[in-house]
């Protein structure tokens, strides 16, 4: 371990020669004093980043990388593309193969999902954060620069997908040869189609025993209207036909329409935050060139910066002197805050302004959840963990919140359910934070009834995130709830069951379509609220895992919403108040009353647990009084144990929330509020 630590000075020359080595300054606290060390950490090595061996392995590549003249790659020999796929259809494996073939990484058995850097990405087989890799590819005696912009596969991350796609001219649409088209395949196709990108369908996993590429080709023809002759059959795992994919990328995808002679104009399509170097912005050059030392300006803020470093991502940072029109790379320019590198922003040269690119609409939070530390003493640590995570995920919104039962915390807004899960998982894995996450809710809206109220709120339509802010019916013209268009693809044996499930979720069927002889694609308009909790789990389990589901935003619709309160012996428990649809009030009220009954311990008197809408009680459970609670045997040998138990209970009593004369343990709130 010690041998890995080198003094800074000694190490510097080495860094210049091996630019693909990431340097981390590690602050270590030892015996009360801080020492700053420089360690070698290669970015491939996710798990064993403390190993020194990669340095040797990569030293052979160094000479090739030293004198990269990017002017050798004119626009005609540049291709920018993305890979899009449903979860587990093999996107990351194909990316690994492409990196290997083009020599970006050494060919070893251990290259698994190289672009998926986060633990959660590897565990779930998904990409959360888009990554970029520039590949050099020989074709017809020419070297091409292929920029692979990796995208997250799930629509929760469609914001990331769309910004990745905006830097591309084409996509590889991967479909599993066994599973065929799935819900996310459809969603991804439309994103690319609407962006008018060239779509190359790639049928992966043809080595599998049950592979049926023929059937999948037919599906593609039928659903996407792409001639089946255009499909490429590959096995990313074995490398079969992967080279053909690269050839087709060169042949079919058009080069970017950017000119070196134009003024410098670049789109910021992603950014990461590095504690020591500040913001690292990923840019796509739509015109001109940019070099180290140039003064650049952010169109959004009008602030100017000097370019300290720029280069290619292969996928590690690989500094160069200049980047030219059509190319994709990174730039570090002394931006201290993530806000300064707004995604979708346009960069131009100082005193040479250009018309800003269209940019992106900001991510919209669709799912909200309360987040509280398990113990209030962990609040500060959790806050700093949340802040750190947000640096690299600008799509999460945060609002301070506090609950009488759970203490101080936050109300976080996410793009979708998976996004929320991934965020929580990262919080736990990367920051070791234990948190209570409440059941997710969606943002409702209310159209205010009177001019007076509108003046009061400053707007006619208000968004309601917290049930406490829910305006009374007398004050509103109507309430609105967010809707989504859901796509379900499943074998037709399950159609009946799926329709029943969707109906129970207040969904309205929009269309139904056979994508082949046995598989059906059904589209429904759902209230978002109906799918945020356990819809996907139910769909999966009723279809033995065969159904896939995806959804996209479908605006707001009027809905009969009401606020439901929960009472303990007649006293409302404010942290349990919830907004529900009128049709669901009874079942939701009953379910929560039952959960409360299970989790509030019996006390010496009877407790009525009630759900109420206004003054009307719609559900009730009774927690019967304890009639006996005393340890039978208590002699000399039992005293120590008994005292310990009682003291613990007494200690626990201090933390109880008292509603009327009822002691409600924190666990009861957690049980009721927490996501199941």
């Amino acid at each position: 371990m010690m041998s890995l630590f080198r003094s800074h000075g000694l190490f510097l020359p080495l860094i210049k020669r091996f630019p693909d080595i990431k340097i981390c300054r590690v602050k270590r606290r030892s015996q009360g004093c801080m020492t700053t060390c420089t360690v070698i950490r290669h970015r491939w090595m996710k798990r064993s980043c403390w190993s020194i061996s990669p340095v040797r392995e990569f030293s052979s590549n160094a000479s090739e990388k030293e004198n990269l003249d990017m002017s050798k790659f004119p626009v005609e020999r540049i291709r920018n593309f993305s890979i899009v796929a449903h979860i587990d259809h093999g996107k990351s494996t194909l990316a690994d193969r492409l990196l290997e073939i083009t020599g970006a990484i050494a060919k070893t058995a251990s290259n698994k999902q190289v672009l998926d850097k986060l633990q959660v990405e590897r565990e779930r087989g998904i990409t959360v954060k888009a990554q970029t890799a520039s590949l050099f590819y020989q074709h017809d005696g020419q070297t091409y620069l292929l920029n692979l912009i990796d995208t997250p596969g799930h629509v929760d991350f469609s914001y990331e997908v769309s910004r990745s796609i905006s830097a591309c001219q084409g996509v590889l649409l991967i479909v599993d040869a066994n599973q065929g088209i799935q819900a996310q395949t459809v969603a991804n196709f439309y994103l690319a189609f609407e962006a008018q990108l060239t779509i190359i369908p790639v049928i992966n996993k043809i080595d599998l025993k049950n592979a049926d590429p023929e059937r999948v080709e037919k599906q593609i023809e039928k659903v996407f209207d792409i001639p089946k002759e255009e499909c490429i059959r590959i096995s990313a795992k074995l490398g079969t036909n992967v080279d053909q994919v690269l050839q087709e990328v060169v042949k079919r995808i058009p080069p970017p329409t950017a000119r070196v002679d134009d003024l410098f104009k670049a789109l910021v399509f992603d950014s990461t935050f590095d504690h020591y170097r500040g913001v690292v912005a990923n840019i796509a050059l739509f015109g001109g060139r940019v070099s180290r030392g140039d003064k650049i300006v952010s169109a959004h803020l009008g602030k100017s910066y000097e370019v300290n470093e720029l280069g290619l991502l292969r996928p590690d940072e690989h500094p160069t002197e200049t980047l030219y029109a059509g190319q994709v790379g990174y730039v570090i320019a002394g931006m201290k805050e993530v806000k300064e590198a707004q995604i979708g922003d346009t960069l131009y040269l100082h005193k040479q302004p250009v018309e800003a690119l269209p940019g992106f609409k900001p991510a919209k939070s669709m799912v909200f959840a309360g987040m509280y530390p398990m113990d209030q003493s962990e609040y500060t640590a959790l806050r700093s963990a949340v802040e750190k995570l947000m640096l690299n995920d600008s799509s999460v919104t945060v609002q301070k919140d506090s609950s009488l039962a759970l203490g101080a915390g936050w109300r976080l807004g996410f793009l979708g359910l998976l996004h929320m899960e991934v965020f929580n998982q990262r919080l736990e894995q990367e920051y070791n934070a234990s948190v209570i996450v409440t059941a997710p809710t969606v943002p409702y809206k209310a159209v205010l009834a009177s001019a007076k109220l509108i003046k009061e709120h400053g707007e006619e339509v208000i968004t309601i995130i917290n049930p406490a802010q829910f305006p009374d019916k007398s004050q509103v013209v109507k309430y609105l709830e967010p809707m989504v268009m859901g796509t379900i693809i499943a074998p037709d044996d399950f159609t009946g069951k799926i329709m029943t499930l969707c109906q129970s979720r207040r969904a309205v069927q929009k269309n139904m379509f056979y994508i082949d002889e046995h598989r059906v694609m059904i589209k429904y308009i759902f209230p978002l609220n109906e799918i945020v909790v356990d819809f996907y789990d139910q769909l999966k389990s009723m279809s033995s895992g065969y159904a896939s589901f995806d959804y996209e935003d479908a605006g707001y619709e009027a809905a009969d919403l009401i606020k439901m309160d929960f009472l303990l012996n007649g006293r409302p428990v404010e942290e349990l108040a919830t907004i529900v649809h009128k049709d669901k009030a009874y079942s939701a009220g009953k379910a929560i009353c039952e959960r409360l009954k299970e989790s509030i311990p019996r006390q010496m008197f009877e407790i009525a647990v009630q759900a109420a809408i206004g003054s009307k009680i719609i559900a009730r459970e009774t927690i019967k009084a304890y009639r006996k609670n005393v340890l039978a045997k208590c002699y000399g040998g039992d005293v120590t144990r008994k005292m310990k138990l009682l003291k613990k209970q007494a200690e626990g009593k201090k933390k109880l929330r008292r509603i009327g004369n009822i002691d409600v343990p924190k666990d009861a709130f957690i049980n009721v509020l927490k996501r199941k």
Partner: protein, 441 residues
């Protein structure tokens, strides 16, 4: 001068004169006098062995392959001697041989331990000497020898008079053995025989429990202990219930069982004097009352617990002591050091009062003002609990009584004691915190 400074000065003076100053320093700001009744104690002797494992028992017991009675006897004697000397009590008020199955011990072992006690402290002929008896034929046969060894009270673990229940519990006796043993014990120690019975057994109904009690009344002596079966993790019975193979009556049913038993026994002339103990003709267990009244006790044998002041080394606070659990290890330690104490915890003034409170409220008579005053001469029950809103709530709810006589549970309150105690402990703690800040001001 505040009480606090006075105490500090007294202690400083005492500490100067002793080599054990640091022990004393720890007790500063608690009390300057010895806990009451430090001159006497009761003695508990643990016999850790059983012939077989009962399905519900998680107690400290061992099924030995071969047993060396001579070594065990020597070690029990040795530890008794050591602990008696450490405590410097002049009188042992009662002795209780528990287990395990102490009726498997040889009567000569019992005699030897009692002899040791007599050698180092006064053990009156009148003192209660109880032995727990397993009602097997072998147990019955040796009862006479035990009385000759000095035992004058038997506690017979009949558990149930229903043979199906006895089988479920994994007992090695049947109801007939139980009746014979009780009858023999009553002949030997008339009026000083207790029986243990359990309720809330798998498959038991309120009706069957009541009829079992009716069957018991004519044959039992003047003392009955009633225990609700508690499922302890790690026991066979726990697994059987957990897996659904057996089912035990629910909370509501056991509450009815408990209360109906209290009624039946009361009608038959038994007075409930503690949560689980009933006596006729005042045949209460002196030894057990000692625990509930917060008196000193010395625990001898593997896993035994004690509460006493180590006067021999200048101790001023009571210590909670636990002996080593495993018999073999315990034997080695006793042979090497004279005792097998594994854990010692100092009980400060507050800690002692907590135990007095928790144990005292188990008794029907509760904690009398005089009883409390012994341990807390400065602060009486009224001062500590009288102003508490929650105690007033308990009183209004008819669960607790606080008056000139003292603090005690009502008939209903006794059944809910464990729900009352955490609140009482908090009130006590709050009183001391307040007292502390006022004292310092």
């Amino acid at each position: 001068m505040s009480r606090q400074t006075l105490l500090t000065q007294q202690h400083a003076l005492q500490c100067l004169g002793t080599a054990l100053g640091f022990v004393l320093l720890r007790s500063i700001a608690t009390t300057h006098r010895l806990p009451p009744q430090a001159d006497e104690a009761s003695l508990y002797v643990h016999w850790p062995y059983c012939l077989k494992r009962c399905s519900y028992c998680n107690f400290n017991k061992y099924i030995p392959r071969n047993q060396n009675h001579a070594v065990m006897t020597a070690c029990l004697q040795r530890e008794t001697q050591t602990l008696l000397q450490l405590s410097q009590v002049s009188r042992i008020s009662s002795v209780f041989f528990g287990g395990g199955t102490p009726s498997l011990a040889q009567p000569s072992t019992i005699a030897a331990v009692l002899e040791t006690v007599s050698k180092h402290a006064h053990l009156s002929d009148e003192a209660e000497v109880t032995l727990e008896v397993n009602p097997t034929p072998a147990g019955k046969a040796s009862l006479k020898d035990f009385t000759l060894a000095g035992v004058n009270r038997f506690s017979v673990g009949i558990q149930s008079l229903n043979d199906d229940h006895l089988r479920t519990l994994g007992r090695d006796h049947d109801s007939q053995h139980a009746l014979w043993t009780v009858s023999e014990a009553r002949t030997l120690c008339p009026g000083r025989v207790s029986v243990d019975v359990m309720f809330a057994l798998p498959g038991q109904s309120v009706k069957s429990w009541e009829s079992e009690l009716e069957k018991l009344l004519p044959v039992c002596d003047d003392h009955v202990s009633l225990y609700q079966l508690t499922l302890e993790r790690g026991t066979q019975l726990f697994k059987q219930v957990d897996s659904g193979e057996l089912s035990v009556p629910g909370d509501d049913v056991t509450a009815v069982m408990y209360n109906s038993a209290r009624g039946v026994l009361e009608k038959a002339g038994f007075r409930q004097y503690e949560v689980s103990n009933f006596a006729k003709n005042n045949a209460v267990s002196e030894h057990n009352i000692g625990y509930w009244k917060g008196r000193q006790y010395i625990g001898v044998g593997p896993g035994a617990h004690g509460r006493f002041v180590l006067r021999a080394v200048g101790g001023v606070q009571r210590e909670a002591r636990t002996q080593t659990l495993e018999p073999d290890v315990w034997i080695r330690e006793v042979q090497r050091h004279g005792h097998g104490t594994r854990r010692r915890i100092q009980l400060d003034h507050h800690g002692l009062l907590e135990e007095v409170l928790v144990m005292g409220l188990r008794m029907n008579e509760g904690i009398t003002q005089q009883h409390w005053k012994l341990f807390s001469p400065e602060d009486d029950l009224q001062q500590i609990f009288g102003m508490s809103e929650k105690v007033q709530e308990f009183q209004a709810g008819g669960l607790l009584k606080l008056n000139n006589r003292g603090l005690r549970c009502s008939w209903e309150g006794l059944a809910l004691l464990d729900s009352i105690l955490p609140t009482m402990l908090l009130e006590l703690e709050m009183f001391f915190k307040k007292d502390c800040t006022q004292g310092n001001a």
